[in-house]
Point group: C2
């Protein structure tokens, strides 16, 4: 497991409490370029907010063996795995069956899901076999609410199976957020400046060496005819971030530029 838990949630203790996650996007349409993924960024931002570190994303095609392998690799490596896509009523929706196979459990009809779908479609006479497929979840799974179109996602062990349609995926995740327990939140401070990366790189590297507990990223930009870079400092301890940001502002001024708090204005 890429995780580490200590008994303490004290931000001043040496070892942060780290909770990790991966996202598995199941989608031929993303790989072919037909569709631009809209879920990864939403999940990444939401996970960061609740103190869960997204450490890997994979996009795989709608192919059983590929999905099963990815689910098993990711669920044994990270604390949480979120899948998106492939839980509708058509033949190409194979995620639930693949997750069941990955866990080695049968796919069973869930009566609560049947009731949700019956209500949504206006009566049992509208429950086609295809729609009933959406009421089948792996044995032991807990349903994940779908406030948009009823057909639920589910949680099995540390795997959360969400829809691919962004509005539904995001609503499912929002509903789940309350039951996810994060670790120490990764806080960030961003300072930007109209300096070339190649000019500040040396001092920035030394700053990173002095603050080994922080993660300092440099992201160049070119806006309104001016180049510069945003420096993003990330870590779990506010005081350390502020100390490093203070040193960074001194470095920027020493190079004759003015620190800009946050991202530069567009």
């Amino acid at each position: 497991m890429m995780s580490e838990t200590t008994g303490s949630n004290n931000a001043t203790s040496a070892a942060p409490r780290i909770v990790t996650a991966a996202v598995l996007v199941i989608g031929n349409e993303i790989l072919s370029g037909r569709t631009r993924d809209a879920n990864i960024n939403y999940l990444a931002t939401g996970l960061t907010e609740i103190g869960i570190r997204l450490l890997e994303v994979r996009v795989v095609p709608d192919v059983e063996a590929r999905i099963i392998t990815a689910v098993n690799e990711l669920r044994s490596t990270y604390d949480h795995v979120f899948t998106t896509g492939g839980i509708g009523p058509t033949h190409d929706d194979i995620t639930s069956a693949c997750v069941a196979k990955a866990f080695g459990v049968p796919l069973l009809r869930d009566e609560r899901a049947v009731a949700l779908l019956t209500r949504h479609y206006g009566g049992p006479e509208h429950l086609t076999d295809a729609r009933l497929r959406m009421a089948h979840v792996p044995e032991g799974a807990v349903l994940v609410d779908n406030p948009v179109s009823a057909a639920p996602g589910f949680q099995l062990g540390n795997v959360y199976v969400l829809a691919g349609v962004p509005r539904i995926c995001q609503a499912m995740f929002d509903g789940l957020k309350g039951r996810l327990v994060g670790g120490d939140k990764v806080l960030s401070v961003t300072v930007s400046a109209h300096v070339g990366e190649g000019v500040i790189a040396h001092d920035l590297g030394l700053l990173q060496e002095r603050y080994g507990d922080l993660d300092i990223g440099s992201y160049p930009y070119f806006r309104q005819g001016r180049y510069g870079a945003s420096f993003v400092l990330r870590g779990t301890q506010r005081a350390r971030l502020e100390a490093a940001a203070g040193e960074l502002r001194v470095i920027i001024r020493k190079l004759g530029a003015e620190p800009i708090e946050g991202e530069p204005l567009e």
Copy 2:
């Protein structure tokens, strides 16, 4: 290798010539949610256009061991691997060194790259050590042109190392496209209809069974107050696609709806 080559490029032959690819996004900023990836869709679309099938995308953090493992897994599985991100002048730009380690070769100073950077920055006196880092590529690598900001990407074996900044990444890829040899192109036909997926699913599944050489995807939508789905048929043989699309239109009309060619209007 997830690839298959036959001597024939004849679209009527049974076995299509398949060339595969993976994209490896190296980027803490994507995983933290700070930045929304803009390269995956561009590469996916461009690869599809030239007959290369994108079969996997991974996003990993700026961590040496993670990058090396991903590069080695992907390059041994797919015909081509495209990495994005991590080739700038700052301490967090470790992609070139990681690719060198993945291949077990040293990182060497490339004199052509030095010349490109010298010209771009206006003379050798502006070539900081940090900028010179961008002139180091793994032994045996071939430079990939950067028409935007000079610092080149490179190709080593079947791995293409591109910048992360979208404008640069895309320009590098556009320049590369001419030297990539694709297989049989995956063609697609899209037919949409205002029908519920759960209503058409049965017939659609049977259609997929009759056309095992095609890949039929169903993508629901909800637009202007109407729900429906787009059905995307993909395959290498135009005649087979058109035959299947013809049958699909009959199925849609049988359900009392009208086939819409392509995606529904917004």
